[in-house]
Symmetry: C2
Subunit: 378 residues, 2 copies
């Protein structure tokens, strides 16, 4: 393998591939990145066996030659040191040449590295993906769906399936649900071209967070292929593979109350700031609980106290409060996460009583539902 | 105590005082900040017993009323939570009122905090400083002096005196020296108004780093008062006290060679980048060593190798190489630190042989001297 490449293109593609590489892998070759050069361009692959990212740099981009191929071939290079070297090279051109025994020369300006590479045939092969069942989704919509759900996954390994987000594609809707059993986030999206067959998969939260970084601020379409073992996202010249979580995702629909006793419509930012301040006093403690009390005159009181630090009270004007008087406590963190996930200036909060789950939505839009279980403090 | 204050002024002063407060103190009251309000304004004090920072906010700044005093007094408040509360208050005005049993109300908009304060008379008193022996130094010059020396202090507690920078004021010169016994940084500054009496103190490196942050990008004069136990820096409305390190600082002048065998003049940035790249291969290893070899034609070769990763060679054009041929090895980190500390595009490096210390200076300026001990590798 021997080629010359423009450093910036190599660097951008490497930045993506590096997101899949972990130094803590039990498979030594996965600390490396695989380079495959053929006549159409350079393919690079990185993986931690849960996530695999593959990028492609074509020989020409917008009519400019990006890669000059002298000899095709492939090699595996230590990811971290290769990435650092490319980042710090003195000029904008790089020459990479594989010699005998996987010795790999990297030249730029008067700098010459001789890295000990590994045999690319020892690198795990990507699974074959049947592409007959796929759908597309605009990148910005995909980012919203991830942002509004993934924060609610469980971080505890006691029920592994809850560390992922449940994606159910059925009857033209994509429904994404995450829960850690104390709160729940659900996003419904109607998509025009979903496959006729229904799909139910659980995608690890970590994969979705990395995917969100990879698609960045792109507005192009992302192609999604779901299989029984993995899901593949295609965004431009990047392929993002994630394994799926095994096990049945619980039926969460029965958790969501159908009848409510108190409805509050309130400015999202004002409520968020008040809860943020109130939580300053309880943050150091185990539970980080704030109290929410409806007062006369469409006012909500947010309060909190800590025996060692002191107490705080704040009144927030609501747009409207309808139904029964209300006094309950909840996790400040869960409430702040839910308010941040709802992209609206006014939110509607519906309570079914002090010890039943309550839900939050935008006043204008039912597609994003956030649910929180209160905490008993009285 | 009761007063109203503009939040921004309180916040800025608090940001400074917080730099002295540590959560890891063994003296519980030092997790707090002391507020003293008298007719001229608000004084706040924070300390970790090594460093003490005191700020003052006058009642009027540039003709604008900043503080409205209702009742003078003092209190100690938990630093971390007080700082967070002020940062997150909803309006630009704050009212602070101390009631019975040190209960302290903080009000802003519709938000009201009731913090449990502590008795201010339990807070340690600041030492009295005799101000008859003091001198001033422009803030930007003080920052340079700190930047060019403090990185070279020892991080090991085996010889505590080496964790500080030795400041010697004598015969109109301020000489600042730091060494960890593998490298040394020395900065000489001629100051017009040094006290007639000579002073020799060792200031903890940590104090100087914090001081540098406190003076920020100010260009005003900083007043320095040295006593036997402590040094006081006055910058605007901020007083910065640091304890001194005990023990005799070693005589470092005999470490610096007087005769040299090879002189190299070279572009600082080109050498720094080449060493940075070469060190990529040795960074993971214990020593992080690179080799420096003089070649014919005013060329220096920087190289490094790692049995597991590979090797790297790079040629750097020198302005001139005079004297004996040279081949030696040194710590890439020490060399990069020294090059960064010298504010010059061309540096002069003077070698006294492969196993003797070598020194670096700007080609134009002798005041900043950096010394490094080579490492035996051949």
């Amino acid at each position: 393998m021997k080629f010359e490449i423009m450093r910036d293109h190599l660097m951008m593609a490497l930045n993506d591939v590096m997101k899949a590489v972990s130094q803590k892998t039990t498979t030594p070759i996965l600390t490396g990145i695989k380079l495959d050069l053929n006549e159409s361009g350079l393919k690079m692959t990185g993986s931690d066996s849960d996530i695999t990212i593959q990028t492609f740099i074509p020989t020409e981009v917008d009519g400019d030659q990006v890669i000059r191929i002298i000899e095709e071939g492939s090699i595996v290079l230590q990811a971290k040191v290769f990435h650092e070297i490319i980042r710090k090279l003195p000029t904008s051109d790089v020459e990479i040449e594989v010699r005998e025994q996987h010795h790999t020369l990297i030249r730029s300006g008067k700098s010459e590295f001789d890295l000990l590479g590994l045999n690319s045939s020892d690198y795990p092969l990507l699974p074959e993906v049947q592409e007959d069942q796929k759908f597309t989704i605009p990148a910005d919509l995909l980012r919203s769906i991830i942002r509004e759900t993934v924060f609610a996954v469980s971080t505890q390994e006691s029920r592994p399936v809850l560390t992922g987000v449940h994606w159910l594609a059925k009857d033209g809707d994509l429904v994404c649900v995450a829960t850690d059993s104390h709160r729940l986030a659900r996003r419904k999206t109607t998509l025009p071209a979903l496959p006729a067959e229904s799909y139910s998969v659980v995608i690890p939260g970590k994969s979705l967070n990395e995917l969100s970084k990879i698609i960045g601020d792109s507005t192009d379409d992302v192609e999604i292929v779901m299989t029984k073992q993995l899901v593949l996202f295609k965004s431009g010249d990047v392929l993002f593979y994630s394994r799926l979580l095994e096990g049945n995702y619980p039926d969460t629909s029965r958790l969501i109350p159908a009848e409510f006793k108190t409805d509050v419509i309130i400015n999202s930012r004002a409520l968020l700031s008040a809860i943020d301040r109130a939580s300053l006093l309880s943050r150091e403690e185990r539970n980080n609980i704030v109290r929410f009390t409806s007062l006369d005159g469409n006012v909500v009181e947010i309060s909190s106290s800590s025996p060692e630090i002191g107490k705080v009270e704040e009144e927030v004007a609501a747009e409207s409060i309808e139904g029964e008087e209300l006094k309950l406590s909840f996790s400040a963190k869960y409430m702040m996460d839910a308010l941040k996930a709802i992209d609206a200036s006014e939110v509607k909060i519906q309570f079914a009583g002090a010890m039943r789950p309550f839900i939050l939505k935008s006043v204008h839009d039912e597609t994003n539902l956030q649910l929180i279980l209160p905490v008993r403090t009285y």
